[in-house]
């Protein structure tokens, strides 16, 4: 890429020919986090405490201390997050090469099916049908599963029942297809995890986590605004915080979308 291309990109961003779409939820103390059986350690909710607010604690400035888990809010999963990825090289957020954080993205729209079936499964058949329409998923691209789940709030989001959460996700075969045969960079969802709400009942349990991270690939979850992305053609920017040995990180996820495609996605 030449200097001219970058300058052109900057101009197109400024002019609106390339749109920046924010795929991030606001970090909010009341935003749901994954719920594990209570005897397990739990994901910390986002919390914010005032240090000072132009007052006796600091007269001219306002600032907060914040606390959360690596896996709170819209967040990135590094390979070291899962036991299958524990020995993968460069498996923590601080070791991942930075070029991995920017790349092409394919969006598989499952929103219609997810609206009808809270346990909708992304299967190889669904992927192949998508490829039939949009072409084969390019190697080293992000694949995002659009479900419009991000538009749910409150109890509907986790959709917890007595047998656990119910939300769409990929089957083991679908993930294996994406990882082994399409060689994707990573997989992202609008739900609280890359796996389905009932993902514990697959073999292996939590197949997205297991296969993605075992193969050194990445995860993104709690994404929003996927309905503003084209099926292909957008560039995703997803750099996690550089946390030493970090298994993941809350982050701001942005996509660059050519305006024409953006409008198309809107429709």
């Amino acid at each position: 890429m030449s200097q001219a291309t970058l300058s052109e990109l900057a101009l197109q961003i400024a002019s609106g020919e390339v749109r920046i779409v924010d795929l991030t939820h606001t970090l909010d103390p009341d935003f749901p986090v994954i719920i594990l059986p209570p005897e397990f350690g739990q994901c910390a909710r986002f919390r914010m405490e005032e240090i000072s607010a132009y007052d006796h604690r600091g007269p001219a400035w306002k600032w907060h201390n914040i606390s959360m888990s690596e896996h709170t809010g819209t967040h990135f999963d590094a390979p070291s997050h899962w036991i299958s990825g524990r020995d993968v090289p460069n498996n923590s957020v601080d070791e991942i090469p930075p070029q991995a954080f920017v790349g092409p993205v394919a969006v598989i729209d499952c929103s219609a099916q997810a609206a009808l079936d809270e346990d909708f499964e992304l299967t190889p058949e669904v992927i192949e049908a998508w490829e039939h329409q949009h072409g084969r998923i390019a190697a080293d691209s992000w694949v995002l599963m659009r479900t419009d789940w991000s538009k749910k709030s409150g109890a509907d989001y986790l959709n917890m029942k007595s047998d656990g959460a119910h939300s769409p996700g990929p089957t083991p075969d679908a993930i294996r297809l994406l990882v082994d045969q399409r060689n994707i960079r990573g997989f992202g969802t609008e739900t609280v995890g890359t796996d389905a709400g009932q993902g514990a009942h697959y073999t292996p349990p939590y197949p997205a986590h297991f296969y993605l991270h075992g193969a050194g690939r990445y995860g993104l979850q709690c994404l929003a605004n996927l309905d503003q992305l084209p099926a292909t053609g957008a560039i995703l920017m997803a750099p996690p915080l550089k946390i030493k040995d970090g298994t993941g990180s809350p982050l701001r996820v942005l996509a660059m979308v050519p305006a024409a495609q953006h409008e198309g996605a809107q429709q």
Partner: protein, 418 residues
């Protein structure tokens, strides 16, 4: 007969809220024994260890034999009114604002003559029973009541000034997710509470108590998470001015001691909920409640903490949880001191293991939500500061009172090993 209290009308927004005033607070060290007994609702006086003479007022030496051993003991609370007066003017603002005030002298069957408050239903020169209750200065005072219960006797203004009765008051229970919340709400409403607000954390995940709470008439669920400062402040902003009784039942509990856990994760959660949660609540709700202690029939009156009795002495199976409760217990003492100038009462209800998931591996006896809520309501009605709910809590407290050091050894010695 006592005139029954009627529910107060809505507050006139043009009227200034009456500033809290207090009855006399200063006491000698000896007299604090009466207050300490009143905190537990006990009628106790000093009895000479040598000659057995019951003493009053509290003193440092026996007025019969000059012995210096004067332990506090429960004595018969029965006696007879000798004389009475109705104080219609006082240089002390607290009584001036509440005049007329009936007081009298009572010849106690146990010996001494007491000056005391007289319940309105006491007949002149009649036999009476003495209650030892905390007044709004947090000091033990004596109130004579009729031997037999009279209708709505708890509405007597002099008695009500000594209690934290939930009748006509608005209660905030801080944690809807605690299994005890529905029973607490039900009992408080049955005791005449005007309204029960219940704080609900993380409404995005279901819990079995929710439909139970929603089914109770007079209960309102409102978002609040004691680990989230902003949410506590927000609810205090909305409700702080009409929270008359706050019951902090928020609890985070996991089994385990220091080595069995191996990390500080749950300990941090325990401190966040059990200790810092209390602090957040106090910082958000305390000031408004303190300012409303003289605000009529539905004045702010009490702050209730539900604690593990192992706040007093560690139970190693739940060692880190015990530690967080010890922190909360210590903080409650600080809070009691800070609330004292307003007259807002801190009542700690200490429980043994409760009948819920987290104590499932422990054998009975365990505290049922119903017995806990009964203890809370009775404690409020009696104006107590210390309530021990259930057999385990009472047992631990008895041992603690006798010797904290022996109690520690009893609870930490474990089983016979190799």
């Amino acid at each position: 007969m006592t005139t029954p209290l009627i529910p107060p009308p809505r507050k006139d927004p043009q009227k200034r809220t009456v500033s809290p005033t207090r009855p006399p607070q200063m006491r000698s060290r000896a007299a604090l024994g009466l207050s300490a007994a009143a905190a537990h609702g006990r009628f106790a006086l000093q009895r000479c260890a040598e000659c057995g003479a019951v003493q009053y007022p509290p003193r440092d030496a026996c007025s019969s034999c000059l012995s210096l051993e004067l332990p506090w003991q429960d004595v018969s609370p029965l006696g007879e009114i000798l004389a009475e007066t109705t104080v219609r003017t006082s240089t002390k603002l607290y009584f001036r604002e509440r005049a007329p005030w009936r007081t009298g002298s009572v010849q106690l069957d146990a010996g001494p003559v007491l000056l005391c408050h007289l319940h309105g239903d006491c007949e002149p020169r009649s036999r009476v029973k003495l209650l030892n209750r905390l007044d709004r200065a947090g000091q033990g005072v004596l109130l004579a009541v009729p031997l037999e219960r009279t209708p709505t006797m708890e509405d007597d203004p002099q008695l009500r000034a000594l209690t934290s009765d939930p009748k006509h008051r608005r209660v905030l229970i801080t944690d809807a997710r605690n299994p005890n919340a529905p029973a607490l709400a039900t009992s408080l409403l049955a005791a005449g509470a005007a309204m029960v607000f219940v704080g609900e954390a993380e409404s995005w995940r279901p819990y079995p108590e929710k439909p139970l709470l929603q089914a109770i008439d007079g209960v309102e669920l409102l978002p609040m998470d004691v680990t989230d400062t902003a949410s506590v402040q927000k609810l205090a902003g909305e409700l702080g001015g009409k929270t008359d009784i706050l019951i902090n039942n928020a609890r985070f509990i996991r089994p385990g001691g220091v080595l069995s856990r191996g990390d500080t994760g749950f300990a941090r959660d325990e401190m966040e909920v059990n200790y810092l949660g209390l602090m957040r609540l106090a910082q958000a709700f305390g000031p408004a409640m303190c300012s409303r202690v003289s605000d009529g029939i539905n004045s702010a009156v009490a702050w209730v903490n539900i604690l593990s009795v192992h706040a007093l002495s560690n139970a190693p199976d739940y060692g880190c949880f015990s530690a967080s409760n010890a922190a909360a217990h210590s903080l409650s003492q600080c809070l009691r001191a800070e609330f004292r100038s307003s007259g807002l009462r801190v009542m700690n209800v200490y429980c043994g293991p409760t009948e819920d998931d987290w104590y499932q591996p422990l054998p009975p006896p365990k505290v049922l939500p119903e017995s806990l809520s009964r203890s809370v309501v009775q404690g409020l009605q009696q104006g107590l500061e210390e309530v021990y709910c259930g057999d385990v809590a009472k047992d631990v407290y008895t041992r603690f009172e006798q010797s904290p050091n022996i109690l520690e050894r009893e609870t930490t010695q474990g089983v016979e090993g190799a």
